[in-house]
Amino acid sequence: MGSTFASVYMSYRAMSAATAATGTVGNNISNMNTEGYTRQKTVLESQTLSGFHSRYDQNLVSTGNGVAATTTVQIRDTFLDARYRAENSDTGRFDAISAGLTDIENILDEISTKGMQNQFDDFVNQLQNLSQHPTSKDIALVVRTSAQQMSQMLNVYATQLAQVRDQQAYDLSSVTIGTDFNSTVESIANLNGQIREEYLYGNNPNELIDQRNTLIDNLSKMANIKVTVTADEVADGITLEHVTISMYDENTSASIGLVDHTKANTLFVEDNGERVSIGMDTSFRLPNTPSNIDYDDITDYFTTGSISGYLDLMNGKGDYADVVGGENDFRGIQYYEQRLDTFAKMFAETYNTLNSLQTTDATEIANRMSTMTFDEKLALWKDPHTTVETTTDAAEIATLTGSLSSAELDAVKELAKDYPNLVELNSSGNITKMPKDVTKMTIKEKNLFTPSDGSAEITAANISISTDWVNDSLFITTTKDITSANGLPTLSGGNDNVIRMISAVSSEHEFHTDPTDAKTDLKFTGTFNEYMISMGGTLALDVELNGNYLETSNTILTSLANSREATSGVSLDEEASNLLTFQSAYNAAARYFTALDEMIDKLINGTGLVGR
């Protein structure tokens, strides 16, 4: 038979296992609301007699040797983790985009506020009033005020968009990357080291693993990360996990390492005012990282996560992006800035041209053209308000081209592509038609709108009414019939030019990337109002769409979080029943010990006293 006290030790082991299991239950209950806590379970193993049998041993009935609590494990599903983190990246991205677009919408939306469209309508109605009283200084003043409010509103829009961009840039560089992201990767690297040490000491660092998982979850909200676990053989027969976190590009299968066991790569943000790029300070390089990678600009590797959302918002140029040149074509802040700039420029250009006088006087035209540079002449020919006479006479063409340099000649030939009304070439590339005379031109000296900062181009940020107009409200040209061909008297009370200005409101305009250059891409054709409506509509659709994405993504995320909770969460009912089970086990083991005690007592005190 077995030794006398073997069973006592079995009972002790049973009680101690039950205590350990009860402790785990307690730990689970205590942490039921702890963020990132994973339900633990004490692993109980039955013990058998093993080892060296005495050669003199008799064959015994094997009773087993009780139980032992060998370890405490976490109940966790790594596949769910991966899915959760992928979805978390999407949520992070849509969250950032949605918030940013809502900021833009708050500036540009006009449903519950009076904005640009309202102001434009006001401008039109003031022009209608001016057409009733074209010589009234007071009404001209009201028109000017309305125009001024419109240009100021554009200025405000531009400033507010710039503020949104600044805010986004700050959030990205100082908060998301500067604080959250970099500290997270460094903490994960630190934890990796601690966890390995604990393992080496033979401990079970479940709580540290929970901490690491929480940090990785946080990281997944910011970027498209991939977690890989491989095995390191630290000593003969002892392998321990080696955690690598990388950003993975699905298209090129290239990975950029973020954490490699105890090493972390941190990010930094470069902002040149237009484009925001992200670079990396590297302390290691993964084997599958392409060798030609430019660590100073890894911007394009961010495809999901809040960082990619910020980047799209700040770098996205929408239609205006040079996609071939690698520019971001998301409709972000720059897209709306550009659309406002186009509007401002088109508006200013249209009304400046209408306000300018035109001349058909040959001497006047000759005088003005004599002081023009070649480039200015080209621009004059291209101006739709200029009337150009062309010649197809070979001798005249020869005379005209004779005075041009070869670069100038090429520039003239270049016109044949987009301006066949001006220049035509034959199959051998020689000029067969070209401009000869200008018979009508606009004298662009009466600008209603000018850039306030002295730059050459009008933008939404710098559009303002001209000093001339500020000084004289009637600087606005109300009639162009001032000088008439048949020597009629000056009739200054005409309103024909005001009607022209009103007509420009209801007529369609071609909005090119650069509104003054018809050669650039055509982005929109329609009236000023339609342009604003289309811009507001695009923005609203984008907000709606990204809001829906966010909602969908959030729903999936919640369901994944519930799935994780179903596996790893603490259920009080379950813990209570475990508690009951282990308490009973403890009680039973104690009762068993009592039985053993009685048996031994019998053996010691009640044995060999026959007849006493």
Partner: protein, 415 residues
């Protein structure tokens, strides 16, 4: 599946949050009366709302233009009605004066009355309505009518009697078409020369030249006699002076030109412009001796002036004495001129009824647009309140069960 209390709590919170935001949105709608707060809530509706708002704003401008045009036309009409009354009075006076029994003195009295009517008409046509002269075309800043050195009526600086009788004459055309235009919702368009196409705008002014008339009328034709040659001259000589035209060659700037020259003129005269038709082949040295006819200015003011002059003539001053015959002829010219005023009054009537039609059209459009705007932007209270009630009921129910979710577990039943 294991269901933990945390899962129940999370789902509960998510649902309660969505109920709260729904309730809040519904409350916002009810308290503000607005259906939309951001375009992104319903992009299609928002785009429509923007379009409707713009149309409403535009209509405001059109209405304002129409009432301005109406005011100007009403003021023009009342001035012209006054002028017409004065003209009726003038006509009666003239008829009275033509009665042969009138003495020189009686005629002079009537003449002075006519002169005062002439002056009143002149003042009326220069009338100013809240800062602008209604009959001046695009000249709204200064009085359109005046008189030149000879006392002839001028319009915007042009002496009306010197203008051709032809409405297509460039100057006449320019003056009578130099009007004021307004955009009343016909979408103004420009032609190739960037001039406003007049059919796309509303012309609301009556030009003074169209009211008063222009050019000259022949009362008695002149005559012309030919000396030598085979030339025949026919037609009325309507030139204002007597003259002798000689056929000769004059070298001017080294270019020799054959033609009829008046006196020492260096430029030939186009006789056809004077109403003389020359047939046959003139020879150098042929002369035409023209005698001026009696030609008067056709416009109302000048004709009245001419009548005043005629009536004040004495009975026995030889060739310069009063002629009933001439006065009667002048009356005929006067009648023609009066007819133009009546025509313009009809013209104003036509324009006013167009304005009425347009105002009706715009107000109907406004009603429709307002209805449309209400449909898009305003809350349907019945619907919104029903939504709110059902949301609020759900919200209360959710709160009610909330306390039960984080309720009992097995622990509550362990002794």
């Amino acid at each position: 599946m294991r269901v933990t209390s945390k899962m129940m709590q999370r789902t509960y919170l998510k649902n309660v949050n969505s109920l709260t935001s729904g309730t809040q949105n519904s409350l916002n709608q009810l308290s503000s009366g607005m259906k939309l707060f951001k375009a992104s809530e319903n992009t299609a509706a928002a785009v429509k709302a923007y379009q409707v708002r713009t149309s409403l704003n535009r209509n405001e401008g059109y209405s304002s233009n129409l009432s301005h045009a109406d005011a100007v036309l009403t003021s023009s009409e009342s001035v012209l009605l006054g002028v017409e009354d004065r003209l009726k009075e003038a006509k009666a006076k003239i008829t009275q004066a033509l009665n042969t029994t009138n003495s020189e003195n009686e005629r002079a009295t009537i003449a002075s009355e006519l002169a005062s009517i002439q002056d009143q008409i002149f003042q009326a046509m220069n009338s100013n309505d809240s800062g602008f002269y209604v009959f001046g075309g695009s000249n709204t800043n200064s009085k359109p009518f005046g008189t030149d050195a000879n006392g002839q009526l001028t319009y915007n600086g042009e002496t009306l009697s010197t203008l051709a009788n032809d409405p297509l004459d460039p100057t006449v055309h320019a003056l009578s078409h130099d009007a004021l235009y307004l955009d009343v919702g016909l979408a103004p368009e420009l032609d190739a020369d960037e001039n406003v196409i007049s059919s796309t705008v509303f012309e609301y002014s009556i030009t003074g030249i169209d009211v008063m008339g222009y050019g000259r009328t022949v009362v008695t034709p002149g005559s012309a006699s030919v000396t030598a040659g085979s030339v025949t001259v026919s037609g009325d000589y309507t030139g204002l002076d007597d003259a002798v035209y000689t056929y000769k060659t004059v070298a001017n700037d080294g270019v020799a030109t054959d033609g009829w020259y008046k006196g020492t003129d260096t430029e030939p005269t186009d006789l056809s412009e004077l109403g003389l038709i020359v047939t046959g082949t003139p020879a150098s040295g042929d002369t035409i001796d023209a005698t001026a006819g009696d030609v008067v200015s056709s416009n109302l003011y000048d004709v009245l002036g001419e009548l005043v002059k005629e009536l004040t003539k004495s009975d026995d001053a030889g060739s310069a004495s009063y002629s009933v015959d001439r006065a009667e002829k002048l009356l005929a010219v006067f009648d023609t001129a009066v007819a133009t005023v009546t025509t313009q009054l009809t013209n104003i009537g036509a324009k006013t009824s167009y304005i009425e039609y347009s105002e009706n059209r715009i107000s109907t459009l406004d009603i429709n647009l307002n209805q449309k705007q209400a449909d898009i932007e305003d809350v349907n209270y019945a619907e919104a309140f029903t939504t709110f009630s059902s949301l609020y009921t759900s919200y209360q129910a959710a709160l009610n069960i909330g306390s039960k979710i984080i309720g009992p577990s097995l622990f509550d039943y362990m002794r």
